[in-house]
């Protein structure tokens, strides 16, 4: 039996329930539309930190290019939303394309006429991209820092591509769909509590799914990879497949986050592929605690929350503080805040345990481990 309270599964789920209940209360007690929109954006960041924690904390795959899935998802959603405002007969072509000299809708845009199909593409394209790219890399046994660098390379390649394809993506200006997302009559207005609820539901869904995944047999093997992938290979497992799948799963979560981001901000640009943004996702997970899904989400909330709290005036010194705290955490606290909580709870549990054993009597230490 595990003695550290931190590892108690029932308690972990209880903490999850409390955490999400607290998030669910927010829109009931607050009706400031702007603030709700901002909080919903934090939910998106939370999803991103969750996806990093899944592949880095559990799978041991450091991914500095999570913006790939995030950006592709966001573009897919923005393209869907843009096509909702176009009319097949009177104005089939988005205005920016006309400004860029296109006189017909490009073939890649055609599928986005259909909302359901468009959203499906926004999720499937990044996931399949991750499957192919991850499959290529992991089969070649590119691992550790090298994989991180490769994700970074792909990310910056995509960013340059999206800037370069000006007529199709509107280049650096990005796409800003004029109307809110409408799914079969259900309008997700970014400045209404509905958008908060949608993001909240998706965050809960992806967190619970990721948690169940880590507790499954698949998840156990993935965690074994994190500890020693060579040993897992010698035990006869096809390491590349497990790595690819957990990488793709994290990509799917990031793509969902990208979709949410697009309908929350009604705007998408190559800034979503920014290297700095992808690395700040890693910073959130590292500060919160990459080995815990929930702590990674909390890390995103804390860092982003603090950033908007200090405001633009102190933004300069804030980045300095962020950099220093990141260095200190890597140096002294590799488990992040979650790791700290684990150690503290471990100390508490051990103290209680020794007290119990003292009262029972020191004569039967072998029963303690049972």
């Amino acid at each position: 039996m595990e003695k550290n309270l931190y590892h108690n599964r029932l308690l972990q789920w209880l903490v999850y329930v409390v955490f999400f209940a607290a998030l669910a209360v927010i829109p009931l007690v607050m009706d400031d539309a702007f603030l709700l929109n901002q909080l919903a954006t934090y939910g998106v960041y939370g999803m991103l930190a969750l996806s990093i924690s899944l592949c880095w904390g559990f799978g041991g795959i450091l991914n500095l290019g999570q913006g790939i899935a995030f950006g592709l998802g966001a573009y897919g959603m923005a393209m869907t939303m843009q096509m909702q405002t176009q009319d097949p007969e009177y104005s089939p072509i988005p205005p920016f394309m006309l400004n860029n000299g296109l006189d017909a809708l490009p073939a890649i845009w055609e599928p986005f006429w259909n909302t359901g199909f468009g959203i499906a593409l926004a999720l499937i394209v990044p996931t399949v991209f991750y499957l192919i790219f991850g499959g290529l890399m992991f089969q070649a046994r590119v691992a550790g820092p090298f994989f991180a660098i490769m994700t970074l390379a792909i990310l910056s390649a995509l960013a340059t591509l999206f800037v370069d394809l000006q007529p199709y993506t509107n280049g650096v200006n990005g796409i800003s769909p004029p109307a809110a997302l409408d799914i079969g009559g259900f309008v997700i207005d970014p400045y209404m509590s509905t958008s908060y609820w949608v993001v909240f539901a998706l965050l809960v869904l992806s967190t619970v799914a990721a948690k169940l995944l880590t507790q499954s047999r698949f998840g156990l093997i993935v965690q074994a990879l994190h500890n020693d992938s060579e040993r897992v290979r010698f035990l006869g497992y096809n390491v590349a497949i497990y790595e690819t799948l957990v990488y793709a799963a994290s990509g799917l979560i990031a793509a969902i986050a990208g979709c949410c981001f697009a309908f929350l901000t009604q705007y998408v640009s190559p800034a979503q592929f920014d290297v700095g943004f992808s690395i700040s996702m890693v910073i959130w997970a590292a500060i919160g605690g990459r080995n815990s899904l929930l702590w990674a989400i909390i890390g995103a909330f804390l860092v982003q929350g603090a950033q908007s709290y200090v405001g633009d005036e102190f933004l300069n010194s804030w980045i300095l503080i962020l950099g220093f705290s990141f260095i200190l955490i890597v140096r002294f606290l590799p488990g992040g805040l979650g790791g700290l909580a684990e150690t503290l709870l471990g100390m508490v549990s051990r103290k209680r345990e020794t007290q119990e054993s003292l009262t029972v009597g020191a004569g039967e230490p072998e029963t303690r481990g049972a």
């Binding site: 550790g144 390379a153 910056s156 591509l161 260095i327 890597v330 140096r331």
Partner: protein
Amino acid sequence: MDFTLASFVNALILGLSIGSIFLVAALGLTIIYGTAGVINMAHGEFIMLGAYASYTLQNYLGVPFFLCIPLSFVVVALIGLVIERLLIRYLYDRPLDTLLATWGVSLVLMQGVRLIFGSDPKYIQMPSFLSTNIAAGPISVSIFRVFIFLVGIGLVAAVWWLFYKTEFGIKLRAVTQNKEMAASFGINSGQVYALTFALGAGLAGIAGSLFGVLNIVLPTMGMGYVVEAFLIVVTGGGALLGSILASGVTGEAQSIFAYIFNDTFAQFLVFVLIVIFLRFRPQGLIATGGARR
């Protein structure tokens, strides 16, 4: 696009120049990674610091440009030494964490420079004779690019001499091959790592003083170089010769693709080709001792 021999030769020469820029950018990174296995994400910021060091020396102290180059080596090497002593030396057995910690360092350096110098672009002046072009018939090259090319060759020669002809080089290669064994022969491996890190940082400083002339000097200028420099190191396999070959090949490839398509698409193509190349040869062009990383 109309193809002429002259414009194609021009593209090839430009490719050589791009390759030499890649090499100068990646040289310090190759040494740090090849010796200590440290993934130094702050390398781009070391380049940026080199540019700012040259700018400061030139604008506030009136130091001539050719003296700025070795001085920015010294300045950035010292900064690198301090960072190594305070942070990196605790992380040698955690390569993934060196990547993260040096990313934190790069954030701090970038923001620190922004607070001191502001976000507006700075310029480094070069002697006027470097800003002209050499022309031979329809082919023309800027003298400054030739200068960078020559500096690149000079730096490679210097590093080669240091690695293979000096006592420090023997120690360094011994530590690279087997740290514990070298230590048991009385080599102070910690000192060798520290000096190597300082050397790599200093080389980035030289790169910065050159790139600061080529482009404008900005706190964010390092970001663009670090990914490319890493791709050179990874494609090359971490060895000096590998980096030279890799920068030559990618430089030419980028220039030829840019000649056929355009600059941004050329960059995209080169990145994708590197990923495909690494699928089939993950150890890079020149594998060191067949070790698979």
